[in-house]
Symmetry: C2
Subunit: 422 residues, 2 copies
């Protein structure tokens, strides 16, 4: 996921390291603060949000933390001063295939992982709205408060987009904060068709988070948390510490003073590397790169489907391509337990061979969901700036690695067989 590379964003990062500006006051990072404002405005425009507030933070888990604290504050503003002890138990809803940041956040916020309610997914790995509504009703019946629904734009493993519009409607119906975790899938916002398709959902949603360091080729870390609720971050997070900023100290418009919106004090400026990249490529240029990456992801899926030793698991909706490798000697076997055991096993062995070989590095894993129980499979994530030849190279490597590992296995198998006494 971090395999993308751009000379612009890298130089931007060097400049930031050299200047070492901190965002806790405007004075210490004036230009970068203005750049943050510009990027925040651009994103808000993409979502068609007229009012908004945002903060940059070092990674998606912290953006999820902001989503959780902001949604809780929105429902119970006194939580800032009084804490949660006199409040009812809160529940957060998220797809069973969403990433771990809701659980991590629940541990930090004192909500508890048991109160993160996971929602079933369909055959494409998307949250099932009817299951969501069922679970909300159960939560309300218990006297709990449904605090937030976390939907995912681009799930980690399948790259699925949850049905945002239906989720937004449910949020409206039950007065629940809708956060869209677009940390991995946010690059899709650069595509007009995608924005058009989800405009109703965006109009109804409350917040979104995006990692620029995942798909958008920016060195770690650069994450934005954006909410439609104006000024809420200042209200929720400020402490007005005299040593950081006092209204009278400011030699400029006090509204430029955004440090106290953050839960951080000194905050590394992560904006220049992204701003420079965007500025250099233009929105149009970025869009083209993203489209090309999506084409590459479909192209890899095509190669997988055409080869008898591979099987595509889900038609890719985004940049992750999930597939099994079937070694030659079992490829026509019945798909029984023994078959899947071998598939599971060879995937692991191929990864070891891949690391030794040193040409490529992709992830593999098992996946359990209410819909599927998958043994080990590969799930490369296509990054920006790759060519068809790169995809061909990756696939060729996988074929060769598969053959090498299968041969070794066959040899071992025949040795074991020949030792057996008749």
């Amino acid at each position: 996921m971090f395999g993308g590379f751009s000379e612009y964003s890298l130089i931007g990062d060097y400049v930031q390291s050299t200047l070492n500006s901190s965002a806790f006051t405007f004075e210490s990072a004036p230009i970068f603060t203005l750049m943050e404002k510009e990027v925040g405005k651009k994103y808000a425009k993409m979502l068609n949000w007229e009012t908004y507030d945002f903060i940059f933070c070092p990674g998606g888990t912290f953006a999820s933390l902001y989503a959780l604290t902001t949604s809780r504050f929105h429902k119970f503003p006194n939580v800032k001063f009084e804490g949660v002890n006199n409040l009812p138990q809160m529940n957060v809803f998220t797809s069973e295939l969403s990433q771990c940041s809701m659980e991590k956040g629940a541990m930090v916020l004192g909500i508890g992982t048991n109160n993160i309610i996971t929602i079933k997914t369909d055959e494409r790995g998307r949250m099932i709205p009817s299951n969501l509504e069922e679970k909300i009703k159960i939560c309300i019946d218990k006297g709990h408060v449904p605090m937030m629904i976390n939907s995912t734009m681009g799930t980690t493993v399948f790259g699925a987009n949850d049905p945002f519009e239906e989720i937004s409607s449910i949020c409206e119906k039950y007065d629940i904060w809708h956060h869209i975790d677009a940390t991995y899938g946010g690059a899709q916002l650069f595509l007009e068709d995608f924005r058009k398709q989800h405009e109703n959902a965006f109009a109804l949603s409350d917040s979104i988070s995006m990692d620029q360091h995942k798909v958008l080729s920016v060195p770690q870390q650069s994450t934005i948390f954006l909410t439609k609720h104006e000024d809420i971050l200042e209200e929720c997070n400020s402490t007005h510490s005299g040593y950081m900023s006092m209204q009278e100290k400011v030699l400029y418009d006090f509204h430029l003073e955004i440090g106290d919106k953050s839960i951080q004090c000194s905050r590394h400026m992560d904006i220049f590397k992204f701003w420079l990249y965007w500025k250099a490529l233009s929105t149009e240029g970025l869009k083209d790169l993203i489209k090309k990456a999506l084409d590459n992801s479909k192209y890899l899926a095509k190669l997988v489907k055409e080869h008898k030793n591979f099987e595509l698991i889900i038609e890719p909706e985004y940049l992750t391509v999930c597939f099994f490798y079937f070694p030659e000697h079992i490829v026509y076997n019945p798909r029984d337990e023994a078959f899947w055991k071998e598939v599971d096993d060879i995937c692991k062995k191929m990864k070891i061979e891949m690391i030794k070989r040193g040409n490529t590095m992709i992830s593999y894993q098992k996946q359990l969901s209410s819909h599927k129980k998958l043994v080990n499979f590969f799930r490369p994530s296509i990054t920006l700036g790759k060519e068809r030849e790169d995809i061909d190279f990756l696939f060729k490597e996988l074929i060769e690695i598969g053959e090498i590992v299968s041969e070794k296995e066959n040899l071992m198998r025949s040795i074991r067989t020949s030792i057996i006494l008749a």
Copy 2:
């Protein structure tokens, strides 16, 4: 505070940006993970801790967050799964002069800022232990749980070190987690005398946090949270997400897999810039730099004391030097309200002039504590690698700026006076 600079740490940061490794698995950042382990071990040795656990994180506020969540988990391990709703109200104790991260943390954890109990400070800006004990008793009488005491090594404004040993004893007596916020003052740990002086306190304390990006000349951000409680971070923060790491996936010793200790998923490696700096300078070299900076801080205090237009507020214990500027025309005036109003006013105007002039940049602020109520004063923080001449230059600038601003003010005053009709 971020004014320090080292070519080693800067190059280290460039390398990190270029490699763009993430710490969520050992596989994606093997060498940097080993470097983290080495630095953690070195720090633990300085504190004389035989057992320990640690995590790097992007800044001091997040380290404070770890202190809060870890101490809560230590008292109530079920909080991870069940949240705080069935637990009593928790209280956290911190000096009235500590930085804002306890408040920020209390908002995030659902403790509430009202439950951060501030403790009075003495004439040197240090927490008063008797006041701490009083407040703990009140907390217990209310049926609240005293969860954590946050003491500060090097307060933001006065650079004071809280009386760690007395605080540690109180923590022992009432079974409270003792966290030392050494984000600013941690550089003192490199001094043998300092370590010797506080060894009993360290032996009794539970955790400590240090920003390498403050005094130690490392570009933002590089923070370590270190606790004496082995394995607690894994227990407190892990979610065991399959997509991040599965025991069977690991091609190496599973104990090298430290990503899940963190509340982050993708985590920027902040270690190389610091490791390289430390390696290049050696512990001895770092110690010498810190000693020299402490000398410079005393030297600036001496210059301040010897000049009639300046007044030192507190004899510096660390690297911050706090002082007033008295304009010439009031320097022998009685120290009444009018006097302090002018002192307050000229400080602000001098800062404006300083920014326009562009040669130096230091902070100023007011400070209210139970002991003092100070109008605006300057509080430069001395960074590593500065020479006597740099201190002389800063002081000369302040004198000149003071004179320029005073003259302007006098001119304005005489114009106003001459306009008044007799």
